[in-house]
Amino acid sequence: MIQAGVIGVGQTNYDSKRRDVSMAGLVREAIDHALLAADVEWDAIDAVVLGKAPDMFEGVVMPELYLADAIGAVGKPVLRVHTAGSVGGSTAVIAASHVCSGQFKTVLTVTFEKQSESNATWALSPRYPYSPHINAGAGGYFAPFIREYIRRYDAPEHIGWKVAAKDRQNALKNPLAHLQIPGIDEKMVSETPMLWEPLRYLESCPSSDGACAMVITSEEMVGSRKVAWIKGMALRSEGTLSAGRDEVNPQAGIDCAKDIYQQAGIHNPRKEIDCAEIYVPFSWYEPMWLENLGFCELGEGWKLTDEGVTRLDGSLPVNMSGGVLSSNPIGASGMIRFGEAALQVMGLAEDHQVEDANIAMGHAYGGAAQFFAMWIVSSSKN
């Protein structure tokens, strides 16, 4: 297979309202940064892959039509990807697959959400006939799975506060992050109102505007550029309400992780992966995904968090950029994880750089914890 690598990552700053730009202006801002970082011109781009969450979030149906000029798709193949919240990750995988296929040498990929144009929570809760209109919101949907995790493994409640504080402390080292909360600590989190019991206000992600873009190219086009080599990538899915499904530890997540580890030749992820950007929109998903991804045995994830293993200075830093808990432009959130993993192995993560990060993971999940997208990137080709 043709080796693909990320040669440029571009992000907007993330904020609750980017009213200073249109949707087109928002995506172009990320693209301009990515092209500049990759040191390539438009002529070098062979295809464009766009991703975003449901069209109802902004009320623009098929945004790839309206955005064709802004994303430079005129005269090139364009593909739009959609897999709910994991879309940023799956879009990256689809874009990289374009390169690995040998059909395209260099691909531009971009994802975005402009949540300020609507209200994403309610756009996911229409009044369908024959169904109760429970208006639970995303947090209300995931909260019972979190309670079940806590029950199974007898985890203490401060674990959630710890993740929430840690990710926002990391965000203070990332000027692009939406939430900048000086002095954030566990106590501050624990004193915020209960939102979706057992989740408190600051244990939940914000609603953000923003876009993230990447330039992915083949081995022959890399030249002397800095590159994050894609060593493994995979997507897995499962049903929303399938009988026997374990929502706390979804099989699709386990399988997806096994697939990328096998591709990348990783036998012990806890030891071999230097850092990870994992999709954690609600605090407890850090320990839950640590287990799902095989970084530890079941029931041990919360202990890793509690011991500080996932801190920026820990032995397995998680969400160095501040994560989804600090910036959540939904359609882009997965790609930010993948892009931030790439920045780490390229040594370009600035103040939130993990020293000697050579192998990093990007992870995203979406829907009812049913769509998974993951990749492993490395500073070395072999």
């Binding site: 249109s22 202006g25 009320g59 309610w122």
Partner: protein, 149 residues
Amino acid sequence: MSETKATLLKAPFELSYKYKRSSGPIMSQVFEGLAKKKILGSKSKANKVYAPAAEYDPHTREALTELIEVGPGGIIESWSWVHQPSNHHLIQTPFAFALIKLDGADTAMLHMISDCEKSDLAIGNRVKAVWSETPTESIADIQHFILDI
């Protein structure tokens, strides 16, 4: 297999949400212009003028930041006659949808031509904008076009 025939259910399902559009620095000027009865087009570095205005050049991919006034007259590039307007149409008497190339522009915009007979219309005929009396900072501030012969 049961012999009972199932009743086939159906239920109404209406979907609607409220949105707030951010038009950005370029298109905001264009919509403000329309409310002041001015049509602005986007001029590229190669002096190509896009009307309706665009934020990005589809061919050179440059950000289009220069706006110049175009119209309010122009020519018909193509058209389609609507014999019997339905409730959904903005004009309730027979009218035409038309691609109109405004004076000073290199591209055509889709709009409507009213107050004319089908036999009056021909590619190349001149039209001019009729402005709405109640500006809304939208493309609807051009109510429609009329023939300008």
